[in-house]
């Protein structure tokens, strides 16, 4: 056999293998989604609701109606930032489960100080400062678990959960006691004037927070997959003792991961305030982080896939509110769908790994 034919068959083989692995990845990602929708549909049938009309309402509102799709895209901004925060941490093997507190602390400080600044500075400077404030305070809130993990070896699942409960209460305390708007009786912070908020895109109501979110998640994806810094973080995540042997400064990298993750979660809070809400009311907690954790798992920590799942989640959550009014199925149903989706994902991964082993 000549060398030429060998390279030829080699390249077609490689092409076929690539095609096969791509279709495999597609099947592994979309299979669970389809299965979850079918199972959810069966539950709807049991509840005596036509699944086609239910999902018709969900996608009709969340994806196809002009106002609905604008709401969906606006909601995606903060969710994408949270997803970016979680991908950095999870890829580095750090289970940051305190994203909700980091989000709220960022949001509260941003909402407290940006409206005070806004009248005295140009709009862009006020927005930039507001975003910076939210990122810095979100990052600071993540530093306590960071140091405990880096220098005391303390499991970050405990500490981030503790800081999460602590931060949610602390944010409420700040709103009720410290950053209260003196001109209203409702416990809330001062409100950022609509003119001083993030601009909307192309004459729609879509907040430019969406763009910030997309930039963040793509930036994080490329940082983790294409840069030396990202490689170091993945080594730490893959095997911390191997990382030590390779001469990496593991404690320092751990602190860096927490800081980046916390800052992105805080920025998510800032974007929600600067783009959408304008103020923080007492006891406000949208719980975005806990909602995004499963999505990031579904995406297997891949930035592009995360964009898809965040979009799907936004459509479902916006659409379910409308479907709830028309079919009488409360929007808790989305939770059931996501739960089933996660289980399906884990099962598909199980069989994928089994098949891979059998092939090898």
């Amino acid at each position: 056999m000549s060398t030429q034919t060998m390279t030829e068959t080699g390249s077609t083989d490689r092409f076929r293998a690539k095609l096969q692995s791509m279709s495999g990845v597609l099947l592994m990602s979309l299979g669970p989604v389809v299965a979850a929708f079918i199972l959810s549909g069966i539950i709807l049938l049991i509840l005596d609701v036509n699944p086609f009309s239910y999902y018709g309402y969900v996608f009709g509102r969340g994806l196809l109606s002009p106002t609905g799709v604008q709401a969906t895209l606006t909601r995606m901004g903060p969710l994408l930032l949270i997803a970016a925060a979680l991908i950095v941490a999870f890829r580095a093997g750090i289970w940051n489960l305190g994203g909700d507190a980091q989000f709220l602390i960022g949001a509260v400080f941003c909402a407290a100080w940006t409206p005070l600044m806004a009248p005295h500075v140009p709009v862009w400077l006020g927005l930039l400062a507001g975003a910076a404030i939210s990122a810095v305070f979100g990052g600071i809130w993540a530093l306590v678990p960071a140091f405990l993990r880096a220098y005391q070896g303390l499991n970050e699942i405990i500490t981030t959960l503790m800081m999460n409960f602590l931060g949610i209460s602390f944010a409420s305390v700040l709103v009720k006691l410290v950053f209260l708007d003196p001109t209203t009786t409702v416990p809330q912070t001062r409100t950022l004037a609509v003119d001083d908020r993030l601009p909307t895109l192309f004459g729609t109501t879509i907040s430019s927070g969406l763009v910030i979110g997309l930039i963040a998640i793509l930036g994080v994806h490329f940082m983790m997959t294409r840069t030396a810094f990202g490689l170091r973080l993945r080594v730490v995540g893959g095997n911390a003792s191997a990382a030590v042997h390779a001469g990496l400064a593991v404690p320092l990298l751990t602190v860096a991961v927490f800081a980046i993750s916390g800052a992105l979660a805080g920025l998510s809070g800032g974007v929600a305030i600067l783009g959408q809400y304008g103020n923080v009311r007492a006891d406000w907690n949208p719980g975005y982080s806990l909602a995004v954790v499963p999505l990031v798992f579904l995406a297997r920590f891949n930035g592009f896939a995360a964009i898809g799942f965040v979009a799907l989640f936004s459509i479902l959550s916006i659409g379910a509110e409308s479907a709830a009014r028309r079919t009488g199925i409360p929007n808790y149903f989305t939770l059931v769908t996501i739960g089933i989706l996660l289980v399906m994902l884990a099962i598909s991964e199980y069989y994928g790994a089994k098949r891979q082993k059998a092939g090898a």
Binding site: F165, V173, F297, Y332, V336, T337, I347, Y350
Partner: protein
């Protein structure tokens, strides 16, 4: 100071028991599961399963006792999914745990909506067992020794579990399943059976805790009523590192703070409840800062055991 009246103190101490018992049961359950090497992030879902089924059965049969049995059943039901996916199939424990929590939140809220959305039925007060003599102690007596039987059961579980962990073959097997499952396997015991047992027992304890919240605590089922109690249970179990008595102390600490928040409001003191609710977490963070160095968890925690693999 007129704040510390007898009624206030009784309400405070009784409140510790009321809000501490679900935490205690959740913490003990999680501890049992973690001991055997299964990091159970789904206990919030098991708690809700117990709270819902417990309430439903207590309402349908008009029997509190059957309600508690139903609560245990509800917890085991959710836990059996955990056992199937994480122990038998060896899937990622954190993913499945979160999936079960979300799924149970949605499913119980949905069931509640379908069955009780207009009614909001309320259960009658649960009868208490009065312990002679002890119940006559002023303040502490009526608050702690004239309580629902489940409270005594939960506290009695602490010494029982200490005994099981320290002195029995089962305790040793549980510990081995979490620390070195391969060794347990070579000793001729089935790791998967031990872990399944641990997860299901965890579900039973946590489900009972959930049923306590709906049947005794609130008297109604409200969607999402467990309010992160399961997550606090995870924290308690991790802080206690395998010692049931520490779970009891932690549950009492958290219970005291939760109870103080309500008791102060009843007494008309104007502090945002959030400030009081922060206290236990601040306390634990300080403890961790000072003494967190020797945190030790079971070696095989979170790792699925597959026979013959490494």
């Amino acid at each position: 100071m007129t704040l510390f009246t007898d009624t206030f103190l009784i309400a405070l101490i009784a409140g510790i028991a009321a809000s501490g018992v679900p935490l205690l049961l959740a913490g003990l359950g999680e501890q049992l599961s973690e001991k055997a090497g299964v990091l159970n992030v789904g206990i919030e879902g098991m708690m809700l399963g117990g709270a819902y089924l417990g309430f439903y059965i207590a309402w349908a049969t008009e029997s509190t006792a059957l309600g508690f049995v139903g609560g245990i059943g509800g917890g085991i039901l959710v836990a059996s999914l955990m056992a199937l996916f994480c122990v038998r199939m060896g899937l990622n424990q954190i993913v499945i745990g979160i999936a079960l929590t979300l799924g149970a939140e949605g499913a119980t809220a949905l069931l509640h909506h379908v069955q009780f959305s207009r009614l909001y039925p309320r259960l009658p007060d649960v009868s208490t067992w009065r312990i002679p003599f002890l119940a006559d102690i002023p303040i502490v007596g009526p608050a702690l020794f004239d309580r629902e039987p489940v409270v005594y059961l939960a506290i009695a579980l602490v010494p029982i579990l200490v005994y099981v962990y320290r002195r029995t073959h089962l305790g040793l097997a549980l510990q081995a399943a979490g620390d070195k499952p391969a060794a347990l396997d070579s000793a001729g015991q089935n790791v998967l059976v031990i872990r399944t047992f641990a997860v299901l027992s965890c579900g039973a304890l946590v489900g009972l805790g959930g049923a306590f919240m709906s049947i005794v605590g609130a008297g109604v089922f409200v969607p999402f009523m467990t309010h992160g109690n399961g997550f606090i249970g995870i924290v308690l179990a991790m802080l206690a590192r395998g010692r049931p008595l520490w779970v009891l102390l932690g549950a009492a600490l958290f219970g005291a703070c939760l109870s103080a928040a309500t008791a102060l409001q009843v007494a008309g003191v104007d502090i945002p409840t959030d400030v009081v609710q922060m206290l236990p977490f601040v306390a634990v963070m300080i403890v961790l800062l000072l003494a967190g160095r020797n945190a030790k968890l079971p070696a095989a925690l979170g790792a699925a055991y597959v026979r013959g693999e490494r």
